[in-house]
């Protein structure tokens, strides 16, 4: 096999080099070429990894969660093959494996750590020989024109997990998301009890590790407007939520069929959110408890950290390495990353769907005073062509909290209108479609008593990439393509 594969690897590498020469940052190009030459390339290359592979998927937070897992595993001394640039469809994952592949069937790394797009979980999981664990964190309403309905994604995940080799892999699931937790239903008999490895199923099915937040002080007054997953996956009756933490994540039960939130063995409690700077929580695991100080803000990042911990626990990493890895994790690019622009501290907070946007807005609202905001709304394919979702996000959280807001991007004026109807004073809203000019204007417009107040940039996905490219060109941010 290795011998037959080698010339194809060389050809795909050459194609990738060509594509970079032509100026594409396209990290998935060589992988796509290789998949055309060798449809089984993913499985063939992954089988070279001595310690197998793990997959991470979610609609929200997969890049950050995967970066946290990487930080933990590297701290433990595991050599990773990791698609850290975020190219998360089959082509991107194969590209990552390709660049790690060495002659004579070897590979530079022991364990594959792959973030995977929601809709690519099924085909990728089916190919990935040596798949050890699958971490699934959440399913929020996201880019309906591209992904379709949530239930459709949930159904594709069900079939992804029933196939080989995923059936035998450990599942790491968010107990607080009813759509995700229900994916463990076939394996309920094999839920890890926290002692040793937990039982695998008699039929070879893998075990389940659940994680969840347990902190009554975080409970919201009610469901967010755009909350989904309100009805029981089993019987269709409406769930009763005893606590809502974030979107539709929380503690729930079905009064009709009795299905309830599984009891997690990896838990976060005593959560303290420290504005845009960070968060603390107590991590409880079978091995013990530990305080974690995160350098990333918001409850959404507590969930990301908890998910990463649960996966690490499933891989039998000691708690001390987990805590140290989480604490040294830094922002994935564009996700709460801080850069200096013309001498002004600027924090980039990616917003791409209502649930994620709400968490960013909630985190911003924790900071005292009035803020300067740069909102960038694009409608390119990777953002979703449909910008309706901004009306599902709770921009009302910014009403009375904005000193100035500059709207940019391909649909800038529609974001401006959303802010007006959210109660932001229209005199504080300006529209500058061009991102470069908007950034310059937003940075320059400082409060009279400049006490180092930061600018908060809230871009959609392609706007975040464009913003970073702009900053790299201006020499104000490092290249993400490490």
């Amino acid at each position: 096999m290795a011998r037959m594969l080698a010339p194809k690897l060389a050809l795909a590498r050459a194609a990738g080099a060509l594509s970079r020469l032509r100026g594409g940052g396209a990290t998935s190009a060589p992988g796509k070429v290789l998949l055309r030459l060798e449809p089984n390339a993913l499985g063939a290359l992954a089988s070279r990894l001595d310690r197998g592979s793990v997959l991470v998927s979610a609609t929200n937070g997969k890049t950050t969660t995967t970066a946290m897992v990487a930080s933990i595993l590297e701290r433990h001394g595991v050599e990773l093959v990791h698609n850290q640039a975020g190219a998360n469809m089959a082509g991107g994952i194969v590209s990552t494996l390709l660049s790690a592949a060495r002659p004579r069937g070897r590979i530079a790394g022991e364990l594959g750590l792959f973030e995977v797009d929601e809709l690519w979980l099924e085909p990728v999981a089916a190919q990935l020989r040596g798949l050890r664990a699958v971490l699934l964190s959440n399913l929020f309403r996201d880019q309906l024109d591209r992904y379709g309905e949530l239930e459709t994604i949930a159904d594709s995940w069900v079939s992804a997990l029933r196939g080989e080799p995923a059936r035998a892999a450990t599942l790491v699931l968010n107990a607080d998301d009813p759509l995700v937790a229900d994916l463990g239903r076939d394996r309920d008999r094999f839920v890890s009890d926290g002692h040793g490895k937990g039982d695998d199923g008699d039929d070879g099915g893998g075990r389940v590790v659940y994680f969840g937040v347990e902190d009554d002080s975080l409970a919201l007054a009610g469901m967010a407007h755009a909350a989904d997953a309100k009805h029981c996956r089993r019987c269709g009756a409406p769930y009763v939520f005893d606590a809502v933490y974030l979107g539709h994540l929380g503690h729930y039960h079905c009064p009709s069929c009795g299905r309830q939130r599984p009891s997690p063995i990896v838990r976060a409690g005593a959560v303290r959110l420290e504005g845009v700077r960070g968060a603390r929580f107590r991590l409880s695991a079978p091995e013990g408890e530990a305080e974690v100080q995160l350098g990333l803000p918001g409850l959404y990042n507590v969930y990301n950290a908890l998910a990463a911990s649960a996966l690490a626990i499933a891989l039998e990493i000691p708690l001390a390495d987990i805590v140290a890895g989480l604490q040294s994790a830094t922002a994935a690019f564009g996700r709460a990353e801080v850069v200096m622009v013309d001498g002004r501290r600027t924090q980039i907070l990616l917003v791409k769907n209502p649930a994620g946007c709400n968490e960013v807005l909630r985190t911003l609202a924790l900071e005292p005073g009035e803020h300067d905001v740069l909102g960038v709304l694009n409608d390119n394919i990777a953002d979703g062509r449909d910008v309706s979702w901004i009306w599902d996000a709770d921009y009302e959280l910014l009403a009375g909290r904005v000193r100035s807001v500059t709207c940019a991007g391909t649909r800038a004026s529609e974001l401006a209108l959303r802010l007006k109807y959210a109660g932001v004073d229209p005199r504080r809203i300006r529209v500058i479609d061009d991102l470069g000019r908007a950034l310059t204007a937003a940075v320059a417009d400082r409060p009279g008593s400049d006490g180092g107040e930061p600018l908060y940039a809230l871009p959609t996905y392609t706007a975040m990439l464009a913003l970073r490219e702009l900053l790299v060109r201006r020499g104000e941010a490092g290249s993400p393509w490490r």
């Binding site: 309100k230 209502p354 062509r385 309706s388 004026s413 529609e414 401006a416 229209p426």
Partner: protein
């Protein structure tokens, strides 16, 4: 303040299944109605009506129903027939506006098919929605509408995303003519439907933030006054947003 046609009036809106039929940010439509009333000193009352709840046929000037996931839409279709159909017909006959967007539009017709089932609708619009083997009809869309007899045609811009193809019967008029996009079925050049006080359309985005002028037409018509009798608002951002949505559709 001078007395106007709307002094002391209130727009009473009933949102049908706001927890289930809201997939394309339908809240935006309600927010626009609310603020544009309040900014003019017109009262605004919003009532939600969920599964199993009866409707007060005389208690509302405008009924709104948005789109939902297939599974939720089935639940609502069943409930509409069981608990709300008669009241909706009574309200529409009295002149209350019934506006259905996307899935809500399909539910206002005689029937729609989902998978292999035909699901009965409210029957306020003489339309029928079927699935065909073709792809979902997705994208920015612009249509030209003439809402009142002899009025100048105007543009509605939005986004459509539907698998169903909707066909009009003899008693329903199209809401508008497709300028860009797919419309009811991707072929006929027709978009939406109108029959008496009932209006259906596939345009979300949401519809009313992108077309503030249409929001005003709905408010005025529901209150039985002329749109020109509504006090003017500072609509600079609204006009920009409308232009942005039109540009996205290529108009």
């Amino acid at each position: 303040m001078a007395l106007s046609a709307t002094t002391g009036r209130a727009l009473r809106v009933c949102a049908l299944y706001p927890d289930l039929m809201n997939i394309y940010a339908d809240r935006g439509n309600l927010l626009v109605l609310q603020h544009r009333c309040e900014w003019r000193g017109i009262g605004f009352e919003l009532t939600g009506s969920g599964l199993g709840e009866q409707l007060d046929a005389g208690g509302h000037d405008l009924f709104y129903i948005g789109g939902g996931q297939d599974r939720d839409q089935r639940l609502c279709a069943e409930d509409l027939l069981q608990t709300k159909r008669a009241s909706l017909h009574e309200a529409a006959a009295r002149g209350a506006i019934v506006l259905g967007v996307c899935g809500g539009y399909q539910l206002l017709g005689h029937a729609y098919t989902i998978d292999d089932d035909e699901i009965e609708g409210v029957g306020l619009l003489d339309v029928r929605t079927v699935r065909d083997a073709g792809p979902r009809l997705i994208g920015n869309v612009a249509i030209e509408v003439s809402l009142d007899e002899g009025s100048e045609p105007r543009v509605l811009a939005g986004f459509e995303n539907h698998g169903g193809r909707t066909h009009l019967g003899a008693r329903a008029d199209p809401l508008g003519r497709v300028v860009r996009g797919h419309g009811n079925d991707g072929r006929s050049g027709r978009e939406g439907a109108r029959q008496g006080a009932a209006i259906g359309t596939y345009l979300h985005g949401p519809l009313l933030p992108k077309n503030a002028w249409f929001a005003d037409w709905l408010i005025a018509t529901a209150l039985n006054v002329e749109p020109s009798e509504l006090s003017p608002l500072d609509d600079g951002l609204e006009r920009e947003a409308h232009r942005s949505a039109r540009r996205a559709a290529g108009v």
